[in-house]
């Protein structure tokens, strides 16, 4: 955990209710799948947001406006600063990947997979990204994966962009080791139809984000685990559905 001030370099809307913010600060030791906790002025608890990309001393986050706190974040301007806790939680274990890797993201679960894919590509892995959204207006990140040299497939629930359907429709079986992040029903469907040979990033309402309040604990096959501390990334086989 590191607590520091970050300068906002840019903050733009990239899809419906989805914003991309680039901040400058101390990016050392941040791992794919970890998250940051952002103090939003006027709101008591911090907002946990996944690390989307790291480039030198710049951190990219992609967040959805889901309430007053994130609405306020969306109105913030370049030059403003944010108090952020960084290097939180345990991210994806890259050592588990074979030469062929699948990354599966749904909605605003997609962002952490971008930094992950970047690191996997740097190791020379073949990365197949399967991204699911509700509808065309919510689609983002396709070109980010493409520019990293990943094979990208997109589906939407209503068929307005890419293939109609859900991510599990696009995953050939048997699937290689996967990394997933997205809404709970998507993760459950992956576990049921693709299997548990992968890692999943979980989401839960958090108090502290640093492991002290145990507000975000979930029961797993290995016992009680804090999403903010032992997670957010868990081996899929540990999770109870």
């Amino acid at each position: 955990m590191k607590q520091s001030k970050w300068n906002i370099l840019s903050n733009v809307c990239i899809a419906e209710k989805v914003w991309k913010m680039v901040l400058r600060g101390d990016t050392t030791a941040m791992q794919p799948g970890q998250f940051v906790e952002i103090a939003v002025p006027g709101y008591y608890l911090r907002r946990p947001i996944s690390v989307c990309d790291i480039q030198d001393d710049c951190l990219t986050i992609i967040y959805k406006t889901v309430g007053h706190g994130t609405d306020l974040m969306a109105r913030m301007q370049p030059g403003e600063t944010l108090d952020i806790l960084s290097c939180l939680g345990h991210g994806y274990d890259l050592r588990k990947a074979g030469d062929e890797v699948l990354v599966v993201g749904g909605g605003v679960g997609v962002p952490p997979l971008i930094y992950l894919a970047k690191q996997l590509r740097a190791q020379g892995k073949h990365v197949h990204a399967v991204l699911g959204f509700n509808t065309e207006k919510e689609v983002f990140a396709e070109e980010m994966f493409a520019s990293l040299g990943c094979k990208v497939e997109v589906c939407t629930m209503d068929g307005s962009y890419g293939r109609r359907g859900v991510v599990t429709d696009l995953i050939a079986k048997p699937a290689p080791f996967y990394y997933a992040c997205g809404p709970l029903p998507m993760l459950r469907a992956i576990a049921e139809t693709v299997g548990t040979n992968g890692q999943m990033s979980m989401e839960e309402r958090m108090g502290c984000g640093v492991g002290i309040c145990v507000g975000c604990s979930i029961e797993t096959k290995k016992g009680v685990r804090r999403v903010c501390k032992e997670g957010p990334v868990f081996d899929a086989e540990e999770l109870i559905w």
Binding site: R205, C216, S217
Partner: protein, 301 residues
């Protein structure tokens, strides 16, 4: 900044509250625990508990948060065997062991185990958890039940016993007096205020437990009033003031209301360095207010 809590000397009055510092291991990653006046460890029960279903956290704008964790803890044996010894590796100051129960025998059992097997300086007996059914707050809302728990605990320990009181009562002084008359060495107040948030889009409570404990700066005036009332009702009984303390000025205010030491709760969740910053600010604030010794201001209002 030295204060006395009964016979226990604290290097300063700042204590992370139970449930907001675990057993110290996480906090140790970013701050030296030995700067703290004491540490109040996570509420411990006889058996391990997962607690309530998630979601168990809800925000309340700028004023605080609700929690309905429900006493998640590894159980007293694990606390004795692993948590307290591990805390001792990194922290040499006073430990305030917070214990909870679902019946009077539980309270006595856990206190006896902690008394016998740990070097905790104080037992903080939680009769005010709003998030568990069949216990917790039920003992803190009746003077008779509060006295019974106090007596049962005092019978099994020689350590100072501080009863942690609930604000969810009509007259907190009646509960406080009952505890003191039953032998309590001190009091800690307040625990969280029972509250609720509703997700108006889903038309459902935000918390899976429906209700939860409200903490944060929004409860500071309530805590201050209750500490003041109890300090007047129970003169000579040391009080740990708790509830919504965010900064050094709040510590001073809480002490002027009657507290001998102050627990910091929700502020740790918002700012993991809250205790450290408060301890660092305290000398400046004391100087500005021309306070030479903190003991001089306890209960002066």
């Amino acid at each position: 900044m030295v204060v006395q809590l009964g016979h226990i000397t604290l290097k300063n009055p700042v204590i992370p509250a139970s449930g907001t510092c675990g057993f110290g291991q996480e906090m140790h990653e970013w701050l030296d625990l030995n700067i703290l006046g004491a540490i109040a460890t996570k509420g411990t029960t006889r058996l391990p508990r997962y607690g309530n279903p998630v979601p168990r956290i809800a925000e309340c704008g700028a004023t605080g948060m609700l929690n309905a964790v429900g006493l998640q803890n590894p159980g007293v044996e694990e606390v004795i065997r692993h948590e307290i010894p591990a805390l001792r590796q990194i922290y040499q100051g006073p430990i305030i062991a917070n214990v909870s129960g679902f019946n009077i025998e539980d309270y006595a059992y856990v206190c006896e185990r902690v008394d016998k097997e740990t070097d905790a300086a104080i037992l903080e007996v939680n009769i005010s958890c709003p998030n568990v059914h069949n216990g917790g707050m039920a003992f803190g809302t009746s003077p008779k039940a509060a006295a019974e728990v106090t007596r049962a605990v005092k019978a099994v320990t020689t350590k100072p016993v501080f009863m942690k009181l609930s604000p969810n009562v009509t007259d907190i002084t009646a509960i406080a007096r009952a505890c003191v008359e039953a032998g309590a060495d001190g009091l800690c107040l307040i625990n969280t205020v029972l509250g609720m948030r509703i997700d108006i889009r889903r038309r459902k409570p935000v918390l899976a437990n429906r209700y939860g404990g409200y903490s944060g700066p929004g409860i500071f005036p309530i805590a201050l009033r209750m500490v003041n009332q109890v300090s007047k009702a129970c003169p000579g009984t040391p009080i740990i003031g708790c509830g919504g303390v965010q900064r050094a000025e709040d510590v001073i205010e809480m002490m002027m209301a009657g507290a001998s030491a102050v627990e910091i709760g929700a502020a740790n969740l918002q700012n993991p360095n809250a205790c450290k910053q408060i301890i660092e600010q305290l000398p400046e604030v004391m100087q500005e207010l021309q306070i030479d010794h903190l003991r001089d201001i306890i209960g002066i209002v």
